[in-house]
């Protein structure tokens, strides 16, 4: 099993979620994060002092998938989150050794 971690633009959440739903992904976890990268922030002004906002609002999606789903899922997220502008985000994949569903105690593949 794999944990897919996707950093996306907040405005793309609906698209990504719907695309994933079509794939049959029934669960995911979202975190509000702030990203720093090639995409430039902007300058603000407060009482005559300017300051930069470098960390831009992003959403992080954590999604546990089976090895078979992986390729499909990554591609789906990639397509749904794509705008072509800097700041579109990244997808990271890291291996999961265990998955447990708390409610039923199911483990691994059946717990995803």
């Amino acid at each position: 099993m794999q944990l897919v971690i996707a950093i996306i633009k907040p405005a793309k959440l609906s698209d990504v979620r719907e695309a994933l739903a079509e794939l049959g992904c029934q669960g995911m976890t979202i975190t509000e994060v702030r990203g720093f990268g090639r995409q430039k922030g902007h300058t603000e002004l407060y009482r005559g002092a300017e300051y930069r906002i470098d960390f831009l609002p992003k959403l992080r999606i954590d999604l546990a998938v089976t090895d078979e789903q992986l390729e499909n899922v990554v591609e789906t997220i990639r397509d749904a989150a794509f705008t072509g502008n800097t700041g579109d985000g990244k997808i990271f994949v890291c291996p999961l050794t265990h998955v447990i569903r708390i409610r039923t105690g199911e483990t691994d593949r059946s717990a995803i």
């Binding site: 702030r34 603000e44 002004l45 407060y46 300051y51 906002i53 470098d54 960390f55």
Partner: protein
């Protein structure tokens, strides 16, 4: 010291206190609108509210007051008290506009419109009725400004909204209507309660004199009716929404209270408190229907200003024909038509001129990231919205 001196002083004081209460409505509009827009546009709507008030005060001082009243012959109270009472009314009219066009209108275009509205559009129209012009002569009755102030503001707002179009994401491709909840419900409630309080000055002061048993009684009746209509409007909106959706939508209740206030403004002294409560009930129902109707028509008004001030303003003016012995449905309709056509068409022209010259709508990118960042440089709640490195 004579009785006349005292009467003069009392009337002056009464008018000044009333006017101060109406000035306080500026805070009401500011808070209501700040509560009903998203946090990314909150600072900008606050800027608009403060500046529109400032512009209204200065433009009406320089141009508007003379256009509307010439050099009025005021004898019962200090002339400056009259000016102050009148100037806060024009600010109210302009405040109505800011809410309707919120979250997508360019700040500078809005302010330029405010200049024209408060210097010319509003005062010229006002001169026809309160200035003793042809509407007054025709028998049109609008005691405290359901039409002259509220409908006028709403007509200007409607023109702006039609040219601007809805906020991005408000209406889907297939006609879906999406909710865009405002950021801060306590502020919206506070704003409404401020307006409710200020309205005692708005309607109560419009009697223009409190001395003499008739006047004293009329002002007291106005206070009671104003309060009762608002209460009834809030309750009616609550009951209706509760029946339809089984939820108690706070913002509809707030709009219901304001709807009652706008409706009773056309004639707050002629009827009994019971009648006032019926007028308020009607307004509370009407405003809910109007808000939903406008939404269905894809006219996007984030705070419900057009429904509250426009639709219920018209409703209030029509009700006058039933509560006031000298009013007729026809003259009321005539007045409504004149005010609406004048303000709406002129506003449309101005908004259109602004659009083709400097543009009226902020860029899609700014609309997405918020007017606060684009125009003001600081968000409403900087610590909670975005992180930053210091």
């Amino acid at each position: 010291m004579t009785v006349t001196d005292l009467s003069y002083a009392l009337n002056t004081f009464y008018l000044l206190v009333s006017a101060a209460l109406v000035m306080w409505m500026a805070a009401g509009f500011a808070m209501l609108e700040a509560g009903l827009v998203r946090s990314k546009n909150t600072t900008e709507i606050l800027v608009k509210n403060i500046l529109l008030y400032a512009i209204a005060c200065l433009c009406y001082l320089l141009v508007g007051y003379t256009l509307m009243y010439g050099s009025p012959d005021v004898t019962d109270f200090a002339p400056q008290a009259n000016f102050f009472f009148q100037v806060v009314f024009v600010a109210t009219a302009m405040s109505i506009v800011s809410g309707a066009v919120a979250e997508r209108m360019k700040l500078t275009s809005f302010l330029l419109f405010a200049v024209v509205m408060t210097s010319f559009i509003y005062p010229i129209q006002g001169s026809w009725s309160w200035g003793g012009g042809f509407l007054a002569n025709a028998g049109f009755i609008d005691f405290a400004g359901s039409g002259i102030v509220h409908l006028a503001g709403a007509a200007a707002a409607l023109a702006g909204v039609l040219l601007l179009g809805p906020r991005k994401g408000k209406y889907g491709h297939s006609g879906n209507i999406y909710a865009i909840p405002g950021a801060n419900m306590p502020l919206a409630a506070l704003g409404t309660l401020i307006l409710w309080l200020g309205w005692f000055g708005f309607n109560g002061g419009s009697q223009l004199s409190i001395v003499g048993q008739n006047n004293s009684s009329a002002v007291a009746q106005i206070f009671v009716n104003t309060n009762t209509a608002a209460a009834a409007g809030a309750l009616a909106a609550f009951l209706l929404v509760r029946i339809i959706w089984r939820k108690s939508d706070l913002t509809m209740i707030l709009n219901g209270a304001l709807a009652g206030l706008v409706a009773i403004t056309a004639e707050p002294s002629a009827s009994s408190a019971i009648t006032a409560s019926l007028i308020g009930l009607g307004a509370g129902v009407l405003v809910v229907v109007a808000i939903i109707g406008l939404d269905r028509a894809h006219i996007d008004d984030p705070v419900g200003a057009i429904s509250v001030h426009g639709v219920c303003g018209i409703y209030g003016l029509l009700m006058v024909s039933m509560t006031h012995p000298e009013a007729t449905l026809l003259t009321q309709l005539y007045g409504i038509a004149v005010i609406f056509v004048w303000v709406f068409s002129l506003s449309l022209l101005i908004w259109w001129l602004l659009r083709v010259t400097m543009g009226t709508r902020i860029s899609a990118e700014h609309e997405y990231s918020g007017a606060d960042i684009a125009d003001c440089g600081v968000e409403a709640y900087p610590e909670f919205v975005y992180g930053k490195t210091k």
